[in-house]
Symmetry: C2
Subunit: 213 residues, 2 copies
DNA sequence: TAGATTGTTAATCGATTAACAATC
DNA sequence: TAGATTGTTAATCGATTAACAATC
């Protein structure tokens, strides 16, 4: 373990990476060759020192006076995030939120390739949402296994969140992007990322009520 | 300022509050009268000490051996979050994500009342999504002002995120729930809460690639 | 009473921020 | 060269965790 000193990236840094990526991609589109900490800090409203600390984790060296080379930085950030490799995924729960996620074009740029959707509702089975076919739930295991899929997106109602996760894991899914408001109980080697809209609303509500007084 | 010692609630604590609320509401439904730190820690996968620290911010006193009184705790958490008061809101961008948000019934329980939706697309104007009418954008200012609405939800594409925020603020909106992947530039007294799906995907991607090796 | 659980005070950990020398 | 910007080392800040006395 001694040589494993290349400290692991802090979670907040990981969360900010997509923002750096987006800004840098905008610079590329505008034909700019260099981007500096100052640029990022102005556009993203962050302290320059924080940007420098974050970008250090890409392993890239900047040039004093110029900053970072746009094309190299894009590559480096994508490498850090693993977004240069395609990850196949399935989605379970083709309701309103599921449909919205199936429709995001941005995910494809981040290497996320949702190959199919599943839903318990027979009325949805067989339909196509944003180009993805909706399958019956009992087709899940076979498809996941056959295609070696490792990531699953859960957009089902709270009541069936856990059983959906169980089913995914049994089929071979290793990482779960959970949009249902449940804390999933999973084995240690399964990664769960929960998106919690209520948390965001809570923060907004508290800040708004603090501010109003 | 000296007497303002009642320390402000840490952001991570605020984010966890809705989880405590949900679990407690489940207990109420099951007819249980008491809920303890141990209960929370098992269901939510948190350390007991963290739960105790968090619940302290409700100002409620627990009873040794029993824990907290379910009905009182629900009330207390809702008070902390300001969810006992109704907040009227509008939503701009009635696309896939906007529709999904209009459809969530959970928000109403959190005091969030989306009264109307707006969209630039004439094809959507006049339609009804989950019971909310979609108006043309030029109706926004008048409606917000007339109804004294303070919260706005932004579910428009990245390119028009900033101008949507500008328009909301000019009309009188004080708090913005921003689902578009832009860092909004707003005056100091405006609260912005950004939901960033890319950040979540980034965390999941990194963890998954670390794990796979 | 015995013991589970609370609440408080102190210790630890990790992220942010500051300071400053190095460099193109 | 002068000065903007990088990268590194140290200081600060805030949240989590630990320890333990208080209590029903």
């Amino acid at each position: 373990m001694k040589e494993d000193i290349q400290k692991t990236i802090p979670l907040p840094t990981i969360r900010r990476m997509p923002n750096y990526l987006r800004v840098t991609a905008d610079f590329l589109e505008e034909g700019k060759e260099w981007i500096s900490t100052t640029d990022f800090s102005e556009i993203l409203g962050l302290k320059p020192i924080q940007v420098r600390k974050d970008l250090a984790f890409t392993g890239l060296a900047g040039k004093p006076r110029l900053g970072f080379e746009v094309s190299l930085l894009i590559k480096a950030i994508n490498d850090v995030l693993g977004w240069n490799n395609r990850t196949d995924a399935i989605l379970v729960g083709a309701g309103a939120l599921g449909s919205a996620i199936l429709g995001f074009k941005g995910f494809a740029e981040h290497g996320l390739n949702i190959v199919a959707a599943f839903d318990a509702n027979p009325a949805l089975v067989g339909s196509t949402i944003h180009g993805k076919t909706v399958f019956s739930l009992d087709k899940l295991d076979n498809l996941v296994e056959r295609m070696g899929i490792t990531m699953g997106v859960i957009t089902v109602p709270e009541a069936v969140g856990q059983e959906t996760a169980d089913r995914m894991i049994k089929a071979g899914i290793r990482g779960i992007w959970n949009f249902s408001p449940v804390t999933l109980r999973v084995p240690d080697d399964i990664i769960v990322q929960r998106e919690d809209l209520s948390s965001g609303l809570a923060v907004l509500s508290v800040k708004l009520s603090e501010n109003r007084i």
